[in-house]
Amino acid sequence: MSINQKIVNDFVKNKIKFVTTVPCKQLAGVIDEIEASKDIYHIPSNKEDEGMGLCAGAYMGGKRSAIIMQNTAIGVTINTLVTLIQYYNIPLPMLISYRGEIGEPVACQVEMAVHTKALLDQLNIPTYHFHTKSDADELDAILNHSFMAKKPVAILTDASFWQGA
């Protein structure tokens, strides 16, 4: 089973039925897998805060939801994370490509990478860093944790993780 299939299987196992995405090169394979899944409604969004609004609505409609996005999106979603997702106690797994880490070819990506963990930490968002393939063994439990706690969680997936995958 590919890592992309494993991720989507864990989503489905956790009854996630509504997923919004904004692409990143590293996420191309998992987005294809989401699109192909017959158990998941895939709704691409134009901006990640919009996507979080869609996810909040779907959750209130009884469908567990999740967002797949790049770490640069932390910058455009802080207000939404704080005043919608956290304020209303809405669970939201965020599968995030951690661009700008070791192996990154694009220097500009490093600029947001150096702030990523500090921002998530400041927001009190439980954060899990996937660096090697076996780190993904915990994904099922992390997703479950988000819905149990009714909190957003961040799963940062770096270049080494996707290379080893």
């Binding site: 409604y41 134009n46 805060d49 919009e50 979080m52 869609l54 609505g57 005043t83 209303y88």
Partner: protein, 187 residues
């Protein structure tokens, strides 16, 4: 007619419907006029009423009315292509277009100048876009509810606000009360 007058005419029609209402005065006015468990009040997050409404409509069967503002739609323009390309026939987006950022003191928006939100919605691919006057808004919402087709309504009204208290309910209480009602309607 200003926004609160329009909302008043809507109450008999939307009182028993699932409503997502926009940040600031729109939510406060709705709360004052007709607080219902079917109302989801946004206490922050300008721009996302239409997105929350669409997500809710796509996830379950009951009809959903998202009450939005011109300023909020302008700040989240990306919502219109998403709505157009993911049609939910139980979804009505009602944009109260008073041509201003009402909640912050009626500073003018571009929607009150050269920009037509109904034309933007059409250009984004939305199929049923209705622009109406404040007086005709209740009838337009009623027709959309009877219609079973996703509809975007742009209600052109005047700027201006009434004095309303802030909403004292806690956000998780608003959400929990709303979700209980949503699941009851889908049982």
């Amino acid at each position: 007619m200003i926004r609160s007058d329009v909302l008043k005419t809507l109450i008999p029609i939307i009182s028993d419907q699932l409503v997502v209402s926009n940040i600031g005065l729109p939510s406060q006015e709705l709360h004052l006029l007709d607080d219902q468990p079917t109302n989801f009040y946004m206490l922050g997050t300008m721009g996302l009423s239409s997105s929350i409404g669409l997500g809710l409509a796509l996830a379950q069967k009951a009809k959903v009315i998202a009450i939005d503002g011109d300023g909020s739609v302008l700040t989240n323009f990306g919502t219109l292509p998403t709505i157009a390309n993911n049609p939910a026939d139980n979804f009505i987006l009602l944009i109260i277009d008073n041509g201003s950022y009402g909640s912050t003191g009626d500073q003018p928006t571009y929607a009150g100048m050269k920009t037509s939100l109904s034309k933007v919605a059409e250009a984004c691919g939305c199929d049923n876009v209705v622009e109406c006057s404040a007086d005709d808004t209740a009838a337009a919402v009623k027709a959309a509810l009877d219609g079973d087709k996703m509809t975007i309504i742009v209600s052109k009204c005047e700027s201006g606000n009434i004095k309303v208290p802030v909403i004292d309910m806690d956000a998780p209480v608003i959400r929990h009360r709303f979700m209980t009602e949503v699941s009851r309607r889908n049982a």
